[in-house]
Structure formats: structure tokens, C-alpha cells
């Protein structure tokens, strides 16, 4: 199966293209069937790829058989395959939810969803930094259109901000790439990592500027502090399946930060070694702070979840700033957990909003729920996971992050901030649950809008992985530790991907 590592890009591409052609383009029903088959095939092939990478090690796929550093290479390594599997799983679960008439708001929901998955998977798998830009654009243009899916004033308004910000981000990305290509003469990430150590003098300063520009772009995607203002409004206004899928979009930025600033501008980069670390420390800590303030101030459940996404981004950036194997391993575990948990919470917020009439997801007194027990249980489950309370995976993820802070100075900054942000989440969730579940006004309404079986299955599928991540915690942390070792091992993550190059 030598072509396995391109399947996560090809399957959504072909499904998306087929949906625009006659037998599928006319009826929604056929698009839905193809979507479910496509996302399921994607999930199976990514899981198989994960298994292959675990058994046989890294798989380097040279497109058109142009050997690296020439041409474009796809790299299926432990880090990228883990994230591809996560994206595919999320895509499948969210698609199940969307089938329940959430896809009727616009004409091209299914093809756009597929192209979005293609862009996300491509961004994870690619080993070429210009190709990373191209896949960023693929996932962005799909996300622009998905964001205004369903229409309405707030969506148009937040989409305008989101699109303009990301277009400026794309320009900066290209400026950064131009500088890096101009100084290093290559775009293959492994080759960049090998060559960056030889830079000296003015070329090193130029390359530093390019690297700093890239940090701005990835920070914009990852909602790092000065660039996070778009996130709460965008995520809160998007329709439920779109917001749930967007939960992995900030993680694409985080992944790029890890890939670029650990492998390329990492310990081996000579004059440019670890150039992002002095920036990442204050920005990561401030991101957690501003996210925590947002969590406390949120007037509704969707905004609350969006602010929690900012907090989790901040926690992951802290791991990138600590810059050690243990921290990267913690980041990978916490990344999987926080993506799934926040995605489930976005879907649940929609179910909650639909049952409360005019009040929607705002924390005000309203009519009681139609299915209080099920929704209440799911909400408590999500809340425990997001806060990081013991029985679920959030607890293990946060413990791993806290343990990875080794020096006293690191611990002195990281421990209080992460613990206080968890406390703030606990306060916010208790306040939300008290208002929404217990302080209802007793009026029942006739326009019953209960959660449909497919929606329950989709949310259940996401929620069941959280305890599973605890039960199989040992195996998963072994895997993430292995992946982190790979990322920090310069020989494995750079020289092994360049046939013929020797250290």
C-alpha cells in the first residue's frame, strides 16, 4: 500500500468533485450518501495509515517520484498521521450531525465540507512549506464559504472580518516564504532544517524576519494573543456542524508552529536556534489569560466554548514554548482531547439552543428542556472534560502539561495560569448549568425541537472517545511520547526524509 498516505487528500477531493457533477449535484439525498461513505472511507484509510506508521515507521511519499528536496513530498509520520486520523474522525462525526437538515442552509454544504477536510489533511501531511500555504488556502476558502452557510446578519459580519484577516495573513505567509526561499534556496521542510544551520550574518537576520512573519501567520490561525479577536465571534456565529469542524482549524496553526519551530528553527538552527521561544512564552501565557477572562465574561454557551478554544490554544502554545519532548507529547495528547471535547460542546450548544426558544444559548431564565436528563448528562460530561476534572481525558492532558514544566521559573508561570483557567471554566460552567437547567420559568412550548437520533449518535461518538482516551491512556501516551521523540530527533525528522543526505 505505497499510495496509502495520499488517500486522506484524494478521497475528500474526489468525493467533493463528484458531488458537483450531475448524478449527485441535483439531489441532497445522494450527496448525503456520498458524504457518509466518503468520510467513513476517509476514517478507515487514516486509521489504517496510522496503523501502518506504527508498524513500519515513517512513510515518505514523493509525488510524481521527484526525489526530495525537489518536488513535493508527503510525510506520513507519527505526528501528522495522528492529526489526520483526528481530523477524519471529527469529519465523520460532524457529518453525521449535519445530516439532520443542518446541511439545507446552502447549496454546496457537502462539497465544501469535503474540500475543507482535504485542506486540513493536506496541511497535516505535506512536507513542503509552500505546499503548506496551498493547503492552508484550500481549507480557508472552503471555510469562508462554510462560515456563511445558512446566511444571516451576524454570519456575514463575522465572515467579513474573518476573510479579510486571513487574506492579510496569506499575504504575510507569502512574504515569509519569499524571504526564506530567497535566503535558503529550498522549500522542502527537511531540507530547510538541514540548511538553516549554515546561515550567517545578514542572511541569518533576513531568515529570522521570514521566520517571525510565519509565526504571525500561524499565530493568526492558532488564535495567539494579539490575533485572537476574530475567533469568539466567528465560532459563535457559525452553524453548529461548521463550528464543530472549525475546532480543528486552530490546531492546524498549532501543528504548523510545532513543525516549523521545532524541526526547522529548532535546536540545530545555528544562529536561528529556537527563535520563536522568547515570543511564544509571553504570548502563550497572555493568550491563556485573555481566554480565561473571556470564559468568565461569556454571555452564551457558544461564546463560552469559543473562549475555551482560545484557552486550549494558549495551553498548547505553552507546550511549544517549553520546547521539550515531554511538552510536545503532552501537547499532542491535549490537542486530541481539546479538539474532540470543544467540537462536542459546539454540537451540544446547538441542541441546547434549539430547545430554549428565544433564549437560545444565552445564560438567561427560559423554558425547561424537552430532554433534560440526556442533555444534562451530556453537558456535565463535556464540562468535566473541558475543565479538566479527574475521570476524563482533560485531567490527564492538563497534568501532562503541568508536569512538563521543569524549571522553577516555568512552573511558577505555567501552574497558576493553567489551574486558574480551569477554575474559571469550572465557575463559568456551574453558572451556565445552574441558569439553563435549574432556573427555568416552567412554561412549556408546543414547537418541540428534540434532539434527533443521528445528532445523539454524533455527540455520543465524540463523547465516548474522552473516557476511552483515559482507559487506553497508557498506549496513547506511549504513542505521543514516541511522536514527540521523533519530532525532536533531528536525524529522524530531517535527514531521514532526504534520500542521499547524511549528517
Amino acid at each position: 500500500m505505497q499510495h496509502l498516505s495520499i488517500f486522506p487528500i484524494l478521497i475528500p477531493l474526489l468525493c467533493g468533485a463528484l458531488m458537483l457533477l450531475p448524478p449527485f449535484s441535483k439531489t441532497l439525498q445522494r450527496q448525503r450518501i456520498l458524504s457518509v461513505i466518503g468520510t467513513f472511507a476517509l476514517l478507515i484509510s487514516s486509521a489504517f495509515l496510522l496503523h501502518q506508521v506504527m508498524m513500519k515507521g515513517i512513510h515518505l511519499y514523493a509525488l510524481g517520484d521527484w526525489r526530495p528536496p525537489f518536488g513535493i513530498a508527503l510525510v506520513a509520520d507519527p505526528v501528522s498521521t495522528l492529526l489526520v486520523t483526528l481530523a477524519s474522525f471529527l469529519g465523520f462525526a460532524v457529518m453525521l450531525y449535519a445530516l439532520n437538515d443542518h446541511d439545507k442552509g446552502g447549496a454546496y454544504f457537502h462539497p465544501l465540507f469535503m474540500f475543507q477536510l482535504m485542506g486540513i489533511n493536506g496541511a497535516f501531511l505535506t512536507g513542503d512549506i509552500f505546499n503548506l500555504f496551498v493547503f492552508f488556502e484550500v481549507l480557508l476558502i472552503a471555510s469562508y464559504a462554510l462560515l456563511i452557510h445558512g446566511g444571516g446578519k451576524p454570519r456575514t459580519q463575522s465572515a467579513l472580518h474573518y476573510v479579510i484577516l486571513n487574506l492579510v495573513g496569506s499575504s504575510l505567509f507569502l512574504f515569509g516564504l519569499g524571504i526564506i526561499y530567497g535566503t535558503l534556496g529550498t522549500l522542502n521542510m527537511a531540507d530547510l532544517a538541514v540548511k538553516v544551520g549554515t546561515l550567517q550574518g545578514e542572511n541569518a537576520t533576513l531568515a529570522k524576519t521570514g521566520a517571525a512573519l510565519l509565526l504571525v501567520v500561524f499565530g493568526l490561525k492558532a488564535a495567539m494573543l494579539p490575533m485572537h479577536f476574530w475567533l469568539p465571534r466567528t465560532y459563535a456565529s457559525a452553524s453548529a456542524p461548521v463550528a464543530a469542524l472549525f475546532a480543528i482549524m486552530t490546531k492546524v496553526g498549532i501543528y504548523s508552529i510545532f513543525r516549523v519551530y521545532v524541526v526547522i528553527f529548532g535546536d540545530h538552527a545555528g544562529e536561528l536556534a529556537n527563535i520563536a521561544t522568547p515570543w511564544l512564552w509571553p504570548l502563550a501565557l497572555l493568550t491563556i489569560t485573555i481566554g480565561t477572562i473571556g470564559v468568565i465574561a461569556s454571555p452564551g454557551l457558544k461564546t463560552l466554548t469559543a473562549n475555551l478554544v482560545i484557552v486550549s490554544s494558549g495551553s498548547l502554545l505553552v507546550c511549544a514554548a517549553i520546547h521539550s519532548e515531554a511538552a510536545t507529547s503532552a501537547a499532542l495528547y491535549y490537542l486530541v482531547h481539546s479538539t474532540i471535547a470543544s467540537s462536542a460542546l459546539f454540537l451540544l450548544a446547538d441542541v441546547i439552543a434549539r430547545q430554549r426558544g428565544q433564549a437560545e444559548d444565552r445564560f438567561v431564565r427560559s423554558r425547561p428542556f424537552m430532554q433534560p436528563k440526556m442533555i444534562g448528562f451530556a453537558f456535565a460530561f463535556c464540562a468535566l472534560a473541558m475543565i479538566g476534572m479527574p475521570p476524563l481525558s482533560g485531567f490527564i492532558g492538563k497534568i501532562m502539561i503541568l508536569q512538563s514544566a521543569h524549571t522553577t521559573a516555568e512552573s511558577a508561570w505555567v501552574w497558576p495560569l493553567i489551574l486558574v483557567s480551569s477554575l474559571a471554566a469550572l465557575v463559568a460552567f456551574s453558572r451556565a448549568a445552574t441558569t439553563m437547567f435549574w432556573r427555568h420559568n416552567g412554561n412549556t412550548s408546543s414547537d418541540v425541537n428534540t434532539a434527533k437520533p443521528l445528532e445523539i449518535i454524533a455527540i455520543g461518538l465524540l463523547l465516548i472517545t474522552l473516557p476511552l482516551m483515559v482507559v487506553f491512556g497508557g498506549d496513547i501516551t506511549d504513542y505521543t511520547q514516541n511522536a514527540a521523540n521523533y519530532l525532536h530527533d533531528f536525524n529522524a525528522s530531517a535527514y531521514d526524509l532526504l534520500p542521499g543526505a547524511t549528517p
Binding site: 496551498v134 476558502i141 446578519k153 499575504s171 519569499g178
Partner: protein, 127 residues
């Protein structure tokens, strides 16, 4: 040649950044377009500027790097598509929100503090 080239890229970028920071969506779109022009020129220059050098081997004494040209083509295509999208989105926002401000609302004109009481009295009387 390098001086003029660098000056043009810098000027385009400066104008692009200035226009992108404006409040109305039209100037922002124009600013984004200028930024993408600047980016294209900049990317082209990343392979070094050379005269009389073809990108194909054996056609001239010197050869120039073909990769930046491929990158610029990709960037042009993507930039063009994105500009088209943002133009449509700006028109949609104009229709949905009733004005062409990026924030979706017309900022209130600043009134001097002394006149504030006056104007509020007037509008109060009018209602």
C-alpha cells in the same frame, strides 16, 4: 534595477497596508489587491533579479531560477480567486448590513463635549 524594484514593492505594500486599515470595505478590498500585487513581485524577486537569463537550461548563457516563477503563478491564481470572493462578500455585506463599513455599523460622528448636551436636548425634544 534592484533599487526601483524594491521601491515599487515597498510602495505597493505601504499603500496596501494603509488601505487595508481603512474602515470601508471598498478601500479594504483595494488594499488587499495591492498587497497581493506586492507579494507577487516580492516572490518573483526571491529567485534574484537577472537580465537576459531564461528559465530553461541551454537557452542563454546564464539561467534564472524557475521555481519563483511557478510560485508566483500559484500565488496569482490563489490571490485572484480570493479577491473575487472578498468582492462578492463585501457586496453581500453591503446588502445584509445596510452599509459598507467593515464593522457593519457607521461610526457615530464625534461631537464636542460642550455641544453634547445641546444635541441630546434637541433630539429629545424632537421625539
Amino acid at each position: 534595477m534592484e533599487g526601483i524594484y524594491a521601491f515599487s514593492v515597498g510602495l505597493l505594500t505601504a499603500c496596501g497596508v494603509f488601505l487595508t486599515l481603512r474602515g470601508r470595505s471598498f478601500s479594504v478590498v483595494v488594499g488587499l489587491t495591492l498587497l497581493s500585487y506586492a507579494v507577487n513581485l516580492f516572490l518573483f524577486a526571491s529567485g534574484r533579479l537577472k537580465l537576459n537569463a531564461a528559465a530553461v537550461l541551454g537557452r542563454s548563457e546564464q539561467y534564472s531560477d524557475p521555481l519563483p516563477q511557478a510560485l508566483v503563478l500559484t500565488a496569482i491564481v490563489i490571490g485572484f480567486a480570493m479577491t473575487a470572493f472578498v468582492v462578492i462578500l463585501a457586496m453581500r455585506a453591503r446588502a445584509d448590513l445596510g452599509n459598507d463599513h467593515v464593522d457593519g455599523q457607521v461610526p457615530k460622528p464625534k461631537t464636542p463635549i460642550l455641544q453634547k448636551g445641546n444635541t441630546s436636548h434637541k433630539t429629545g425634544g424632537g421625539q
